[in-house]
Symmetry: C2
Subunit: 201 residues, 2 copies
């Protein structure tokens, strides 16, 4: 199970680092990281620039914290017992469901990760970690294919692209708190991707 986002109250009125981070991520997603200055952040937080510096040394540190939160959630999935033992198909389904859970729970953080351009060292490091995660899932897809659970007529690289395309597109439209729960969403993605939309004849 993904762990809830940490709340770190520090006995001080106003923002703590976590709430500064959450607002910063929304501003990054809205204006783009490059276009967001510490001045724009301060304006959105309704506090002074120096008050932000009280919480984090730089804009880059905010980005790094945000991307760590997204990537940490995703990477933790692959260490869980359900991802490391059992049939490749069962492990893959577990990873797909958990990826959707992390994506929904950390929606603005994963959105930021998926929209990265790679203009800075911090962004490139995050993209490298994302690629490592993707490669591990791709290996799981190949293993599920080799064990005979997945269809053989599609190149595993295409399967990986299409499956991530389906999952990642969720950040573009999913509204947390609406009528579609994260669990039902995961059921729906698994149903479509693994079993297909068509009613079996």
């Amino acid at each position: 199970m993904p762990t809830p986002a940490p709340t770190t109250k520090r006995g001080r009125p106003g923002y703590d680092q976590q709430s500064v981070l959450l607002i910063a991520v929304d501003v990054f997603n809205k204006h783009g990281y490059d276009a967001t200055s510490m001045g724009i952040l301060a304006e959105n937080l309704g506090i002074s620039k120096s008050a932000i510096y009280h919480h984090v040394p730089s804009k880059g540190d905010l980005l790094k914290l945000a991307l760590d939160h997204a990537l940490g959630g995703l990477e933790a999935i692959l260490d869980q017992p359900e991802a490391t033992s059992g049939s490749a198909e069962a492990r893959l389904e577990f990873v797909v469901r958990q990826t959707i859970a992390v994506l929904v729970e950390r929606l603005p953080f994963v959105t930021l990760l998926l929209r990265l351009r790679g203009n800075t060292e911090i962004e490139r490091d995050a993209l490298e970690r994302r690629r490592t995660f993707d490669h591990k899932v791709a290996a799981l897809i190949s293993a599920a294919r080799d064990e005979g659970s997945l269809r053989q007529d599609i190149d595993p690289r295409t399967v990986t692209r299409l499956l991530f395309g389906t999952i990642n597109s969720i950040v573009e439209w999913y509204k947390p708190g609406g009528s579609l729960s994260p669990g039902k969403l995961a059921d729906d993605v698994v149903a479509m991707a693994f079993h297909g939309l068509r009613v079996s004849p």
Copy 2:
């Protein structure tokens, strides 16, 4: 002797409007439409700003031409006989395959369409046309569900989102001219989305 490829020379050396448009779309996709000035365009084309104005009156006209090319391709699909008669399931499969064909054939144009932010009137008009297209496909999905071809346990709105998520993600990774042909790509998407990745027991 191989016959020479046809060229669209118009008795004038240099670019015609179509080639200016193609380069402009690449520059828009790379830097974002807002961040692209006529100066940047001229630099990428290796011609003067006044030479661009010879072909199109403004940056907005280039955007409009490009979006028309993407949207015109998509809208034409729904007018074809295979999209208007037959079972809803067959019509839906036809529309999915043709959407992928247009997406691949007009890749930079559709990429531009999918990345629009809606900051200008031209962009908002294009997004409205895109929504109309999406709604017509959503209606087809509902019809296929009502006729009993598609599974009933997923909300048709979710099906629409996931199906477009899968298809639209193609612009992020597909390389035309590579080993995966547009036809095989369409087969793969149809196989995954309608029949599922899992081997039937």
